[in-house]
Structure formats: structure tokens, C-alpha cells
Symmetry: C2
Subunit: 142 residues, 2 copies
DNA sequence: TGAATATCGTTGTATGCGACAACTACTAGG
DNA sequence: CCTAGTAGTTGTCGCATACAACGATATTCA
């Protein structure tokens, strides 16, 4: 196996390892906002209001999954839903005040937890890793 | 938010994105060997024979989860289990011939799929990303 | 040595995420 | 209008996981 292949093995293994732990951590960090729910709320926040279909497309999830997630988010008062006046089939979803607050708090905790494991890294390395990951996922055409 | 914080945000988001897709991909790539099962088989292979508790520790999974996973793996003939002669509470698990064959095949496919998304990367970058991830997960003490 | 304690693995039960398919409500194009 | 197509909901299923209770075995120490 070439060095390059060995590196790719490591990447796969380590990414998988992360994947296995991410949900767990999110649950510990902010039990009231699951990893999925958090991602969706985050996306709504970053992209302004959007439709359920947008979320499904962006996260590559079935619309039924998204539907249930946003139903829960709404039940907990994290988001606001309204029918799109331009197309009554669609709805516009966006974070509520409460949702935004929770998101902010969760992001703060998340960042703190990240800060912990990046203490030994200098800014260049952090930026470089971010760039790599972005590039890696961008190649994720499916 | 500082650049460093922004980078950590990206890292979190991209890693999460990877997490969300990994299982799906593994299922597409080799339907007969789920992501979890594959990781476990891989670990057994890389570390020689081991106990269920080792797997639980390494993957940060509950022992019940591991127990069910290896029960399935055994039912499908991928692994062999025997009671540890030194401690009758434990069992020693290791890949069977069939398991090793499947693992090899799965690894080949996996590598091919990886190769695809790393085509534009030079060897240095691949190695650097691998190093970053290893370092990241190593800090993952929990 | 024998009782208390700890460890390894299994099993019962519950939860959460996700998929697929069937359905309703609405829209758009002949 | 009627026929397609699209957005979202709901029913049902499977999988991975956690936690708790348990049986069997090991270990420790009074």
C-alpha cells in the first residue's frame, strides 16, 4: 500500500471515528438540541428562511425525516412555520427567538468544546484543516 | 467571531456533514457490511484477536451494542468467537477467512471511492489531512 | 476459605434517525 | 378542466444505540 493509500485509510478511519462520536457529544453538550435538529436550525439561521425541501436537499435527507424534525422543532417552539403565500404547498420555516437563543448557546458550548481539543494547534493549522474538510466534502458529489 | 472560531465552525459543520453521509455511503458501497460492522472487523484485523470489551472501549460504544454487532457478524460467518481460556467470562473474537475476504473487498471499494474525491489533491495534502485528523481524534479523551 | 465485589457478556426495553411508500393538498401546462 | 408534477405528512419499518437487569465467572480480603 502506498503512503497515499495509507493516508487515505487513516482519513477514512478517523473521520468514521469522529462520525461515531459526534451524535453522542452533541447530546451531552446540549441535550435539548440533537445534532440533526441543531444542524437544521443552524442552516435556517445561516440561510435566512427556507423551505423543508431545501433542508432535505442540503442535508441529503428524506423529506419525511425533515418533516418530523421540523415538527418537533416547532412543537418545542424553536422554529416558526408559515405557509408560503406564493405557493400554498410550501411552508417557510425559520428559527424563533427562542430557537436563536438556544442555537447561540449551543454554538458557544460547541465552540468551547472544540477549543479544548485545538489548544495545541496554531491558527494556521486550524484554518488549513477547515479548508481541507471543505474541499473534501465539496468533492462529495453523490 | 475570530478567524479561528470561524474555522472551527467550518470544521464542525463539515465533520458533521461527513457523519451524516458516511453510513449511507458505506451501505451503498458494500451493503453486506455496515459501517459499524466494517469498522469492527477492520479493528479486529488490525489488532489481531481481541475481546468485545476492547471493541466497546475503542469505539466508545456500549457493550450491549458490541455484543449485538458481533452476534450478527458471527451469524453471518464473518468472525469466529471462542471463550478465552484464561478467563471464562471473556471471549476472543477474530475475523474468519470469509470475514477477511469481505473486508479486503470492502476496503478496495472504499479506497476506490476515496481515490475519486482526492484526485485533485497532491500527496502532501492527503498526508497532512491524515495527520490533522489523527491528532484531532487523539485529543478526544472523553 | 468463603463472602463481598467487580467484570464480561447477554438480553429486554426504549429511543432516535432514517428510508420508502401511500396519501392529501396544491400548482401548472396543455 | 384534466392531467402531471411537487410539497409536505403520516404509517410502517429497520438499524444503531443506550441503559438497566441479569448470569456466570474472577478477584480480593477478612
Amino acid at each position: 500500500m502506498s503512503d497515499r493509500e495509507a493516508s487515505m485509510d487513516v482519513i477514512q478511519r478517523e473521520l468514521t471515528s469522529f462520525a461515531r462520536r459526534a451524535r453522542q457529544k452533541a447530546a451531552q453538550l446540549h441535550p435539548e438540541l440533537s445534532l440533526v435538529a441543531h444542524s437544521m436550525l443552524d442552516h435556517m439561521d445561516k440561510n435566512g428562511s427556507c423551505h423543508a425541501a431545501d433542508l432535505a436537499g442540503h442535508f441529503m435527507l428524506d423529506k419525511s425525516t425533515v418533516s418530523r424534525q421540523i415538527t418537533m422543532l416547532e412543537a418545542e417552539g424553536m422554529i416558526v412555520r408559515e405557509t408560503d403565500p406564493d405557493d400554498h404547498r410550501r411552508q417557510i420555516v425559520k428559527p424563533s427567538e427562542k430557537g436563536l437563543d438556544l442555537l447561540k448557546g449551543a454554538n458557544r458550548q460547541r465552540r468551547a468544546s472544540f477549543e479544548e481539543r485545538f489548544t495545541d494547534w496554531d491558527d494556521t493549522d486550524v484554518a488549513q484543516l477547515a479548508a481541507y474538510l471543505r474541499s473534501y466534502n465539496a468533492a462529495d458529489v453523490d
